[in-house]
Subunit: 186 residues, 2 copies
């Protein structure tokens, strides 16, 4: 008991000088740049995925586009939103490199990062579940595996998932390193 | 007795007196209880949803169950996991009421809550996207609106989403109030 009290007194007397967060801030900036490219690529890949089958009847044209599925539209919307958010947060991140104690802007970034993480996770997992269904179909629900026909469309849509899940991983890393930078100040 | 009084005086001299987090801890416990019930109800509602149509052919029996769709299986799994997690975290939460400064257990709870939030969000949104497709179908992909036939099945599955999204909201509130309790200690 005595020892711990003594320690507490000591540590309060000699509070360590605030360590520099410069390395963390630069890492933060690089991660944001990568995530910007990843979400942009995901949004563009999904938005441009379209396939028209070479045969058609008088009434039907077999044409698959992303906006036939509301989930895919949501995916494009969220990825575009995340891309815009990263473009907006990069100046803030540069400011964090310049200033030493940027507690408030870091806290705001953590909160906004968490919101984006939730949106991106839900959009990416919803799209993944629809694409899984499109790949494998469902016998009991009488749903066809449409990817057998719309092969290119499915490939491009599945590829866009990579960018989105990559951005999810980067956001998790960003939240962790920002939290580390904040905790160091205490 | 004397010694402990002395210690209390000493600690109040050295650092500002820690404000009580008792109210927050009790709120935390109540929220965890509600979330436990919500995820349990969601898992049970989804796992017991089954519908057999009154007609069948020699080769086909029209029967819809949750494990026909991998997304629904994932939903049941994640909700059961979340339910178990809440049951495990309630004792920790009770401990937090009893002890005053429970910084470490609060930090562990925040991290585990965030993991659960990610899992539940992805499971609930994937299930919601599949159910939306089941309700409305997709003309261009030649997918039927199977809910027109499997009406009861769809209703019960959609109902189970309420519990899951409710638990998501509660987890967000839990993370916020735990963060508040941690920030107060500084």
């Amino acid at each position: 008991m005595k020892a711990s009290q003594y320690e507490a007194v000591e540590s309060s007397k000699l509070s360590p000088p605030p360590r520099s967060n410069r390395g963390i801030s630069i890492l933060d900036l690089i991660f944001r740049g990568i995530a910007l490219c990843a979400t942009l690529a995901a949004a563009v890949a999904m938005a441009t995925s379209e396939q028209q089958l070479p045969f058609f009847t008088r009434f039907l044209k077999f044409d698959a586009q992303y906006d036939d599925f509301p989930t895919f539209s949501f995916f494009v919307l969220v990825n575009a939103l995340a891309c815009g958010y990263f473009a907006f947060s990069i100046p803030l991140s540069i400011l964090n490199i310049a200033r030493k104690g940027a507690q408030r802007s870091r806290t705001i970034l953590i909160i906004l990062d968490s919101v984006m993480l939730g949106l991106l996770t839900s959009a990416a997992s919803a799209t993944a579940s629809i694409l899984y269904l499109a790949h494998s179909g469902s016998g009991s629900a009488n749903w066809l595996a449409v990817c057998q026909q719309f092969n290119d469309f499915c490939h491009q849509a599945s590829g866009s998932l990579i960018g989105s899940f990559g951005a999810v991983v980067i956001l998790i890393l960003l939240i962790i390193i920002q939290g580390t930078a904040l905790a160091r100040r205490h």
